[in-house]
């Protein structure tokens, strides 16, 4: 075993430690908390690079190293946790730490004016630690713990400006919606533990993802593979909640209430990718290797249906659904949010049709260009003084050149502009795999349609924001200085340098996954490929590349024709698409009224249930408590009665008796001698009488 896997725990540990120290620091120690966060993240990045380098040198089965340790014992069984270092974890570690580091540096500039600077960095570090924990977890339990922690920090960061009611509501919505998914994940986890007896993924042949254990735990009997399918689907529902698949996507757009770095880090690059990562991690459950399974009904001809069927369809529908909604949005961050939902759908689609490598490749490239787009949007918002409506922006290309250039790169990568940008290569892999999916061609067509829409709405956004005339309202200036301050301006270096770094990644990362040199895919599968240009033209790959390029150009052209050629003049003008198809546009702008549907059904039912519980609590349990209270009061009253009338009275009476007898005895002792003598004489007489009469008798 290599050295890195033993100290792998440091990678999430350092940011968690930074979060802990920063939490205790007072509010004015801004540099301390920012320094701790960035320092911890930088160290984690270096460690991740070292881990990655180590994994590079290993091949095949050796590439996976685990480090398990027992946590606690119950009964005879030991609950074990551990971490794993394999290619999947290695690439994810590098991506999360790099993007995280870049965004942390960006946040120093973005949150410079905020009063709660230290709290922000504490939560960011906590998130980073938890996310890295999800990545390296070798136990479904440890993954779940870090998963929940990630959800918590997401809640804390979305509601960072909690005094805004919309932000507080959005945080609550995010938490509750992902909770629905988490329940399913918990159920799946428990079921898996019941079936296999272990929650460790890899444990030298004894882990729950390893073939021997799976084959033994899930024999193909008369129920077919239903338990395995059930577990896989439950875990996928958990991933759906976290990764915003339809119908659990409603929280992601509202999560834009948080600060822009939060949106970039959590809701674009990393946390929402955690769902995709989870599916990739437990892919052995999603697409079981049927050859290893035995049983009386072992399938010989057709493999039974597995969870990838559901994953593919959900992904495809989400990709198109969200892209349609994004077409009609006007908030710069909301467009990007729906775009994220759509791209997550693509990732799930890729996992379903093509496997871990295809989905993960798109995840990695998406992280870079989506983070870039969000940070660029943040830079724009910062530049136009917290304005977020694209109808009120325009012509910003002159004022913010660096932001415009990097934003354009990100936009082209997202749209999938051919050859130069990473998005093209990763999306193409997905479309290629969807094209050759044996079950149906429809995901492929949906994917193409989604690509068209993606190019279209991104062009719309870029035209409205950066081109055309400046529509940003400038207030009446009292002095020349104030006038200058009101004009849109470029952001400081601490914000633009991260943009440049991410832009470089958005371009360069594509080249590690081209069909000519599929290094990324092979790395994940444990081989080392050679550069082979022939693969570019083999098997219809070239044709597919041409088709997708055409689709992208069509989308870009449509966008330019509607929004670039005749830019809108003022903020209150109707949208160009709206003029063409008003009803459709209305539905799209209303986000297909999913939120309203939930409000009318789930929320209302939930409110009724809460009312019921409240009544139960108030009248039944409260009644019981009240009854107990009265019972106690009654008992105490009875006790007091007893005490007063029995004990005290008895005691008082006896004291009285003693007093009276004492008084009587006192009266006897009156100091009068003759009385004493008289008593003596009387006693003597009585004695004599007794003696005489007794003896005489």
């Amino acid at each position: 075993m290599g050295t890195m896997v033993n100290i792998l725990g440091l990678i999430p540990g350092l940011p968690l430690l930074a979060a802990g120290v920063s939490a205790l620091a007072p509010r004015r120690c801004r540099r301390l908390s920012a320094g701790l966060a960035i320092g911890a993240m930088a160290l984690a990045f270096l460690l991740s690079l070292a881990a990655f380098a180590e994994t590079l040198q290993r091949h095949g089965e050796q590439a996976r190293q685990v480090f398990n340790f027992p946590w606690f014992q119950f009964g005879d069984a030991w609950l074990q946790l551990g971490w794993v270092l394999d290619p999947l974890a290695a690439v994810m570690l590098v991506m999360v730490t790099f993007v995280g580091l870049v965004i942390f540096i960006y946040s120093v500039g973005y949150m410079a004016q905020d009063a709660n600077f230290t709290r922000f960095f504490t939560f960011l570090s906590l998130f980073a630690g938890a996310m890295l924990g999800v990545v390296i977890a070798n136990s479904l339990l440890l993954l779940f713990i870090c998963w929940e922690l990630v959800g918590l920090t997401s809640y804390l960061l979305i509601g960072f400006w909690f005094h805004k009611p919309s932000a507080a509501a959005a945080a609550k919505k995010a938490f509750v919606t992902t909770r629905v998914g988490d329940i399913a994940l918990l159920l799946g986890m428990v079921w898996l533990y019941a079936k296999t007896g272990t929650l460790l993924f890899y444990d030298h042949g004894q882990g729950c993802l390893e073939a021997p254990v799976l084959a033994k735990a899930f024999p193909i009997d008369e129920f077919g593979d239903l338990p395995l399918l059930g577990i896989a689907l439950l875990i996928f529902v958990g991933a759906m909640g976290k990764s915003g698949q339809v119908p659990l996507h409603v929280w992601l757009p509202d999560a834009m209430e948080g600060p822009t770095p939060v949106s970039a880090l959590i809701h674009a690059a990393t946390m929402v990718a955690a769902g995709v990562f989870l599916v990739a991690r437990v892919f052995a459950l999603m697409k079981p290797n049927w050859a290893a399974f035995v049983g009386p009904h072992a399938w010989v001809s057709l493999p039974p249906p597995d969870a990838t069927l559901v994953i593919t369809w959900v992904g495809a529908i989400t990709a198109v659904f969200a892209a349609l909604i994004a077409v009609a949005q006007t908030d710069i961050k909301r467009i990007l949010a729906y775009s994220t939902v759509s791209q997550l759908g693509y990732m799930m689609l890729g996992l379903g049709v093509g496997g871990v490598a295809v989905g993960m490749f798109h995840l990695i490239t998406h992280a870079f260009f989506k983070a870039l787009l969000f940070l660029g949007a943040g830079s724009v918002i910062h530049g136009v003084h917290e304005e977020q409506d694209i109808r009120r922006m325009g012509g910003l290309r002159r004022f913010m050149p660096v932001t415009f250039a990097t934003y354009a790169i990100g936009m082209l990568a997202l749209a999938g502009f051919p050859l130069l940008f990473s998005g093209f290569w990763s999306k193409d892999e997905i479309l290629h795999a969807a094209h050759s999916w044996p079950v149906s061609r429809w995901p492929f067509y949906l994917g193409l349609f989604g690509a068209l829409l993606t190019a279209f709405y991104m062009t719309r956004q870029v035209c409205c924001v950066f081109f055309g005339n400046q529509r940003a309202p400038v207030a009446e200036a009292e002095t020349v200085q104030a006038d200058k301050a009101q004009a849109p301006h470029e952001s400081p270096k601490v914000m633009t340098v991260p943009l440049l770094l991410l832009a470089a990644g958005a371009i360069l990362l594509g080249f590690v996954g081209t069909p000519a040199w599929p290094w990324f895919q092979s790395f994940l599968e444990g081989e080392s490929p050679a550069l082979d240009w022939g693969r570019l033209v083999a098997g219809g790959t070239l044709g597919l590349m041409v088709v997708s390029s055409l689709v992208v150009f069509t989308g870009l052209g449509l966008g330019w024709w509607l929004y670039g050629r005749r830019p809108r003049r003022s903020a209150t003008d109707a949208d160009a698409l709206e003029r063409l198809m008003p009803e459709v546009f209305g539905v799209l702008r209303g986000k297909f009224f999913v939120d309203e549907l939930y409000e009318a059904t789930v929320i209302r039912w939930h409110a009724a249930w809460a009312q019921c519980c409240d009544l139960l609590d108030r009248w039944v349990w409260g009644g019981l408590v009240l009854g107990a209270q009265f019972g106690t009061l009654g008992l105490s009253w009875l006790s007091k009665l007893c005490d007063d009338w029995v004990v005290n009275l008895g005691f008082d009476r006896s004291c009285d008796g003693i007093q009276r007898s004492a008084r009587f005895t006192c009266a006897l002792q009156d100091g009068q001698v003759h009385n004493y003598l008289r008593a003596l004489a009387l006693a003597f007489a009585v004695l004599v009488l007794l003696l005489t009469w007794a003896c005489a008798g």
């Binding site: 006192c666 002792q669 009156d670 100091g671 009068q672 001698v673 003759h674 003598l677 004489a681």
Partner: protein
């Protein structure tokens, strides 16, 4: 010469007269007088029993009565001096005023 019984009855009556006086008179000296009467009655009892009882040659009754007389004399002396001391202290010889032992 009376019978033993009559002497004994006489002694009993004398005793009870002395007792009555000791119990009723307020003056301390008179209480002492009563006590002397009681002692005398007892002496009479002894002599009467000596006279009429067996073994008069042992002279037990006579000697007892003699010693009783002696002791009575000593006791009268001490008692009377006590009364004098009490009278000096309490300025009275009435026994109902001497009640320091009152509890």
């Amino acid at each position: 010469m009376m019978s033993l019984q009559s002497y004994l009855i006489l002694a009993a009556l004398l005793f009870s007269i002395g007792l009555a006086g000791a119990l009723t008179r307020r003056n301390a000296v008179l209480v002492l007088v009563g006590i002397e009467l009681m002692l005398n009655a007892a002496n009479l009892n002894f002599i009467a029993f000596w006279r009429f009882g067996p073994h008069p040659e042992a002279l037990t009754g006579i000697l007892f009565a003699l010693f009783s007389i002696g002791i009575a004399a000593a006791e009268a002396a001490v008692g009377l001096s006590l009364i004098i001391a009490i009278q000096r202290h309490y300025q009275t010889t009435s026994l109902d005023r001497v009640d320091s032992l009152k509890g």
